[in-house]
Subunit: 310 residues, 2 copies
């Protein structure tokens, strides 16, 4: 392996960046880079591009690598990027992880292979191990992506234990999108002395997570509400922490009333006054006009805005 | 679209061909072509390469296209091939379907995009529609792949209705791997006058399917028992049909006692005296020695063999 270098790890609020598509459904690199710059300017510590909310699994490896390249060339620091690089196909995961490391990304967020269900921890261990060995670069910082409601393939604590023991320093943490605080808490407790950085997958658990040793959060609504969510991260030890947390939780709950990914795009389209943002790739569908009106109206009533966007 | 040509559709028993891997886990084209030739010689009407049992989703598009190319160059008639070409990423599905049609494949077997769960029929319709429109070739014969136990994304009868109405002749049929005969029967009944060819995903339903208007089956165990299963297809109107069916069902039930994909590989390795066949890609794991011994012993006791293999 290439030698390790001292690296500061990403901490804080990361946005799993929504991906803009043109009318022909091809990725829109220009809009993507502009939105990423706005997110970093608005308080995000990093960008988990190519996550679930990015419709990443609806894009080919080549399409994602082109966007990543545009982002780095567009001046977004690679050290703050944690691209999703886990695919069903071992060779796709290797290819994309290798490129991310080569570009200097601060980390990668890796789904397990998610087609085959009921697979063993041994099989998943072999998958992650093969990727790490083939990439063969000690600069790799691998964050495991636990999202059983979508992947249907969980990453168990025992699997983490095994990977962390075999690849300390490289296996760097996890995003827990189980939505189950007891699982996040168990993950935090079990690996608290192992340099394993846990990020809840929703800002609803941001303050609880930080108090229990978490490092921030990686959250869908980070796409639209990065300022207020980052405010909680910056002030979590302060007297207003619970009040700030209640505010971002309330915003989240409004957005969650409609399907999340098209909602993020509709909200961005509305507040940026840029209808192109509404486009999603199949199998997703955009919000109905009624759904968009509902969520935008509720957000405005609650005083929500996206400063500096349009 | 390119003009339609008169094409004879595939009918009979298709094997979702297991994929041999080398020790470095790369696909082994030589072994693959040899196994495909044996399957066609042994009674298969066609080969559903790159199906679930092929570990297709553990391979990149490029790896699959290289194998498909090797197969056609190796003399296996493209008209008997029904490669799996459905991926999570729209652009991957288009790329692979386009190539399959260009090579003259008799059809393609298409999974829905399977990462996002709970998606609407509208979103799935748009996915299949985009693929068909972008491929833009009337030679395309698209078979929908309904396998909810693995994909977790069902293909409903209403979705089939909509696709068939919009793309008659191109939407050619389905593989039903629900394992639920009542669904297969409903599919057969509803589309019986629409040139929609239904293949149950297990030979357990072969005879019932044929009697209800089905066109054959596409079955995992077609990899190891193609002769006997094809015998049922050839004699389904004959006096021995039920007896022949009972025989292949009994064989299936032996194999099903252990995990199916590694079992098919272990059985092939054993009867071909070729240990390399045991290799699987992560996240799958090979059978334990005990599991292999159990399934092979039971098969031998039942008089099973793989004539002409070794």
């Amino acid at each position: 392996m290439k030698p390790a270098t001292a690296q500061k790890r990403i901490e804080g609020v990361l946005s799993p960046v929504i991906t803009p598509f043109k009318r022909d459904l091809s990725p829109d690199a220009g809009r993507f880079v502009r939105h990423c710059r706005w997110l970093m300017k608005s308080g995000c510590a990093g960008l988990a591009v190519f996550g679930t909310n990015s419709e990443a699994n609806s894009m080919s490896v080549e399409e994602k690598l082109e966007l990543l390249d545009a982002l780095v060339k567009g001046g977004v620091p690679a050290s703050g990027l944690m691209p999703g690089t886990g695919h069903c196909a071992l060779t796709d995961s290797v290819k994309m992880t290798r490129e991310a490391v080569r570009m200097g990304c601060g980390g990668v967020l890796m789904l397990p292979p998610f087609y085959y269900k009921g697979v063993s921890d041994e099989g998943l261990f072999r998958n992650f191990s093969e990727v790490i060995e083939r990439v063969g670069d000690e600069r790799l910082r691998l964050y495991l992506y636990h999202i059983p409601p979508v992947s249907n393939v969980p990453i168990t604590l025992d699997l983490i234990e095994r990977l962390l023991t075999r690849y300390p320093g490289i296996v760097a943490g996890a995003k827990d999108s189980s939505g189950d605080w007891s699982n996040t808490k168990a993950m935090l407790d079990r690996f608290k002395d192992r340099a394993f950085d846990v990020f809840p997958g929703s800002e609803v658990f941001l303050l609880d997570g930080l108090r229990a040793g978490g490092k921030g959060c990686i959250t869908a609504t980070g796409n639209i509400n990065p300022g207020a969510i980052s405010e909680v991260f910056r002030n979590w030890r302060g007297p207003d922490a619970d009040k700030l947390q209640a505010g971002i939780t309330a915003t989240r709950k409004i957005v969650q009333k409609v399907p999340m990914i098209p909602a993020l795009k509709s909200i961005t389209a509305h507040f940026a006054n840029d209808p192109a943002w509404r486009t999603v790739r199949p199998p997703l569908t955009e919000l109905t006009a009624d759904q968009e009106k509902q969520v935008v109206t509720e957000l405005k009533t609650a005083g929500f805005s996206m400063p500096g966007l349009a």
